[in-house]
């Protein structure tokens, strides 16, 4: 025991712990600032990202191969199902094209240049996931050079998955919507029911046991049913309007019985992500 806790060693241990704690406190405190991370850290992350690309490539390749095999096994059923959808899709596509063209024209006439729905999509590969049980973070392969900024929303092919929390030059970190950290700022979303009326709210949490997104403190009397579509509302400015979030799973009273809580089935699968899209405004 003498060897472990001699005076000098004890002092060194305490100093190291204090330095470690100080570094952590500072980085937690500055995490949400616009200027974070500092240039040196960005450079370090860019180098790490470049090396990681080399290692992530074969691993992701293997994942792609195994996904292809399982896709192949389901091909027949999927083909049957898709055939039915294709006919309806052509109709919907033409409709959407006409509406978009008309929308553009009308907007020009109103001199309305920046609408809430306009954004460009930047596609990025997922390099890695933080190996920690306390953070649901991904590192993606595009950064500031591709126009990505902090707090931009990130989607998979099927729907919203999270937001950008740290931007380096050539890669950036994404915090998933399933993250329960208290500092995670939440998305403004809206539910549209069959009659066309909307209910606004924000994502207040994520229920890990059922994999549902929660939208709490809803006091509106508008009737919401299971299966109604949920999209981002564009309020607050950072997130464009109309990104698909999911469908309503159920509506229940909250714990105090004053407001209701809407539970939403996310459209995206948060555990199988290889390619994501960042909505750049």
């Amino acid at each position: 025991m003498q060897k472990f806790f001699s005076n000098r060693k004890l002092v060194i241990v305490i100093i190291v712990l204090i330095i470690s704690f100080g570094l952590m406190s500072v980085s937690v405190a500055v995490r949400n600032k616009k200027s974070t991370p500092p240039l040196l850290q960005q450079f370090g992350n860019d180098v790490a990202g470049a090396v990681d690309r080399v290692i992530a490539w074969p691993v992701n390749g293997l994942q792609g191969a195994s996904n292809s095999v399982s896709d192949l096994l389901n091909t027949y059923q999927e083909n049957q199902k898709l055939k039915k959808q294709v006919d309806q899709l052509a109709q919907a596509k033409v409709n959407a094209q006409t509406a978009t063209a008309e929308n553009k024209q009308l907007r020009k006439e109103l001199k309305l240049n920046n609408s809430l729905t306009a954004y460009t999509a930047v596609t990025a590969n997922v390099l890695t996931r933080t190996p920690s049980s306390w953070m649901n973070q991904l590192v993606i392969s595009k950064g500031a050079t591709a126009g990505i900024k902090k707090n931009m929303p990130v989607m998979s092919q099927s729907g919203l998955i999270g937001r950008v929390v740290e931007v380096n030059q050539t890669n950036s970190k994404v915090e998933l919507i399933s993250s329960t950290s208290s500092s995670a700022d939440k998305f403004a979303i809206q539910v549209t029911n069959k009659a066309g009326s909307t209910v606004n709210g924000i994502v207040t949490g994520y229920d890990k046991s059922t994999n549902l997104i929660e939208m709490g403190s809803v006091t509106s009397k508008t009737k919401i049913k299971k299966g109604d579509k949920v999209v981002t509302s564009g309020l607050g400015g950072v997130t464009p309007k109309g990104l698909y979030v999911g469908t309503v799973a159920k509506v229940k009273q909250d714990d105090y019985g004053l407001a209701s809580e809407v539970e939403i089935t996310p459209a995206a699968n948060l555990t199988d992500l290889t390619v994501v899209t960042v909505a750049v405004q």
Partner: protein
């Protein structure tokens, strides 16, 4: 000549393990982070423990390399500095302290690895808790994080023990 080869192999393997941790976590996310369990891969720690106990001459600067790997982990994966950067060298130091007392074989190394996994996970848990990075209670941590983490990493240890030992015997 023979020494210098290990001096190159060790850091290369260390960073390979570091990035494989993240890549494999992403690929197997559906299995590793299945609610309520979350098992964290610790290939870096495994590689460090192998190096401490299998390198007989103590001529690798494992402490410094592990601090550097911890720094890259903090910057690249979590964005919160000073946690793994201290946890990994701490484990190296403690392992070096108990190494002379141990009769080295497969089972004692397995035990030491379990203890070190617990130290690192507990250190990170306590630090993140104090720093308000996350909120979780001790029982949940022990049952849903520490348990599965030890299980997964022990399996990896058993698989990788003999190949890595062969590597060290051959090279050094």
């Amino acid at each position: 000549m023979r020494v210098s080869r290990l001096r190159i192999i060790f850091p290369v393997g260390l960073f390979l393990a570091l990035f494989l941790d993240g890549s494999l976590s992403n690929v197997f996310a559906a299995h590793l982070f299945k609610y309520p369990y979350s098992s964290v891969l610790h290939l870096v720690l495994l590689w460090i423990i192998f190096a401490v106990f299998l390198d007989d001459r103590n001529d690798l600067s494992i402490g410094i390399w592990s601090a550097f790997a911890g720094l890259v982990f903090d910057w690249y994966y979590t964005g919160i500095l000073g946690v793994y950067m201290v946890a990994l060298p701490l484990v190296v130091y403690l392992s070096r302290q108990i190494k002379p007392w141990l009769d080295l074989n497969f089972l004692t190394m397995l035990m030491v690895y379990i203890i070190n996994l617990t130290i690192v996970e507990a250190f990170v848990y306590i630090w993140y808790l104090i720093g308000k990075v996350m909120t979780s209670n001790l029982a949940d941590f022990a049952v849903y994080t520490l348990g599965p983490t030890i299980a997964v990493n022990l399996a990896l240890f058993v698989i990788l023990y003999y190949p890595v030992r062969q590597l060290y015997l051959k090279v050094s």
